[in-house]
């Protein structure tokens, strides 16, 4: 069935999201029939979509590269206080003595990347920044997921006027370019902080997750196993939460890998526009890059290092998400 039978509109962002919902996995088994040498048809019992996806992913260099980058990033974020050679928040006396209004000291013994604009160790700030960057990415994604799953489940489980109402809200949110929406929400905060940035980025993701989930929930609603559960007298709540929701989460999970990347990029954009977290005691790559653009004429390296970190990590998440999507897409299983 089409994911959105109620929506006559042919195109736009919404349809792209719906198309995603129909591609990625639903967790149902696909019979895998082999013809053995003797000519007899042997049923291998079927391989689940997830198992076959994993078998492909294990050999996919794109996925492996993305996974390695992601794992390294997470390990760095978790262990950063022990890896960083210096305290990323402390102004180092060795660097401060050369720090004048016209000079930001470069590499020095013990400080391979030199100083930031306040005489703090740039290398330690980059290592420490991994943790805050991960926090921004993960929480923005989680909040976006939470909002999107709530709305999507409401719409997909009940249908009818609740569905129409929720989807109209989602449509209006999608009708504003995403960065503008994030900027508008960030501007509402009287005092910008890490959390206002996270909330602004998360809000932009809510309609995308909601629409994705609703699309696959609707497909589940019409499926045989839900009909069977209903015939057995399973309660509505149990059908929604134990039968429909778990089977609909595939595309949402794929999308969240990609959202991790965009959240980190959006956080950098907000910082650049002056709507980021002004408190720089806890370094975060996006904020570091945003501030460093002020000194970019004379000290391009201050912007270059955090930008390189962001690009590598965003690429890692994107590679992983794209190969996951392709592996879970039944159409590309040929």
């Amino acid at each position: 069935m089409t994911p959105s039978p109620m929506d006559p509109r042919p195109s736009s962002k919404k349809d792209r999201i719906d198309a995603l919902a129909s591609t990625a996995g639903t967790g149902t088994a696909v019979a895998d029939v082999h013809v053995s040498a003797a000519g007899k048809v042997k049923d291998t019992g079927g391989v689940s979509l997830i198992a076959s996806a994993w078998a492909r992913l294990r050999r996919d260099p794109v996925f492996l590269l993305g996974a390695v980058i992601t794992i390294l990033f997470v390990v760095l974020a978790l262990l950063s206080p022990w890896i960083a050679p210096n305290d990323p928040t402390k102004r180092m006396p060795e660097l401060l003595k050369d720090l004048t209004p016209g000079n930001i000291p470069g590499a020095a013994p013990g400080f391979p990347l030199g100083s930031d604009e306040f005489g703090r160790d740039l290398l330690s700030r980059l290592i420490g920044g991994a943790r805050q960057t991960l926090i921004v990415g993960v929480f923005a994604t989680l909040f976006g997921l939470a909002g999107g799953i709530t709305l999507g489940t409401l719409a997909g489980a009940f249908g009818g006027w609740i569905d129409s109402l929720v989807m109209r809200i989602v449509d209006v949110m999608l009708s504003i370019p995403s960065l503008l929406l994030a900027v508008s929400i960030a501007a509402l905060a009287p005092e910008p902080s890490q959390w206002t940035v996270i909330i602004a980025i998360a809000t932009v993701q809510v309609p995308i997750f909601a629409r994705l989930l609703r699309g696959s929930m609707l497909a589940q609603r019409a499926s045989d196993h839900v009909l069977a559960a209903r015939a057995l007298g399973v309660t509505q709540g149990a059908i929604v939460f134990r039968h429909m929701l778990p089977n609909s989460l595939g595309p949402v999970i794929v999308q969240s890998t990609l959202v991790l990347a965009t959240s980190i990029l959006d956080a950098a954009a907000l910082s650049f526009l002056g709507l980021g977290n002004p408190d720089d005691r806890q370094p975060e790559w996006g904020a570091m890059l945003g501030t460093a653009t002020r000194y970019i004429q004379d000290y391009p390296h201050l912007a270059f290092y955090p930008a390189a970190c962001i690009i590598v990590v965003a690429l890692g998440f994107t590679l992983m998400g794209e190969s996951l999507r392709e592996a879970l897409d039944p159409k590309s299983r040929r």
Partner: protein, 336 residues
Amino acid sequence: MLRFIVRRLVQMVGVMVVLSLLLFLWLRALPGGTVSAILGERATPASRAAMEEAFGLDQPVHIQYFKFVGRVLQGDFGPSTSVLPGTDALDIFLQRFPATIELSFFAMVIAIALGIPLGYFAARRRATFFDNASVIVSLVGVAVPVFFLGFLLKYIFAIKLGWLPVSGRQDGQLEATRVTGFFVLDGLLTREFDASWDALKHLVLPSITLASVPFAVIFRITRAAVLEVLDEDYIRTAESKGLTAKVIRGRHILRNAMLPVTTTIGLQLGALLAGAVLTERVFSWGGLGEALALSFERRDYPVLQVVILAAAMIYVIVNLLVDIMYAVIDPRVRTR
């Protein structure tokens, strides 16, 4: 066809009403608010009350909303408070509008001219070095923060190599005649070709920066669409009929693959507005994106209103046009 257009127009009006309500609520919720923005630190309770009365802020919310809609429909957004103090916000908008359109136009031309052919060839040579390389380039294109790409290009090509201008839309010393506000076009119309050339040189770096994301998206959608079409039975039929490669490419592959690409291009036009905020800031472009960034920084609410409202309207209208175009290309859509 007409019914389709009318239905979409009605839907668009609905979205605009909700958007205007959201904009109104949003403006009220912004920290500081209009009164504080104008009075600043010196506000006394008495002067605040006087100002609130002058702005009609003491009236019930729904009356305020209808007055707000009335003002918006008349194009009366009030004078700018800090971007260009005293100038009418609508005038600031109109003056900067061509700059953003010119930049977006060139960015979109670059993105389409590169994205569609590359996407097509990558799909035809699937899993070759060319395909893998261009997919990786497009993924990197999405992973690079737009404004950093702008600074990087500016640093290399304008500051270090000095090949291209650092910022702005045109060299001020040229004193070019203004006709439409589109600098390249103006130069052609007034036969000041050096002015056009200079404007083009100023356009190179910003439009490449702005084109990076739409290029990556158009490339990948084209590649996916062509791959899908290549698998269709009618392509095999066309090949076995002995049609020439040129006919198959033009009539069978591209014609069908262009459907999703059209939608994507429309969507990316809207997203260009967001990218322009970042790009124009990097290159001091003097367009709407820069005005938006500045009005956020300096809390200039009249300018903010007009730009946000215009951005949302352009986005909605572009989407409508894309839908109509889609219905023209694909007759199946109309009957759905």
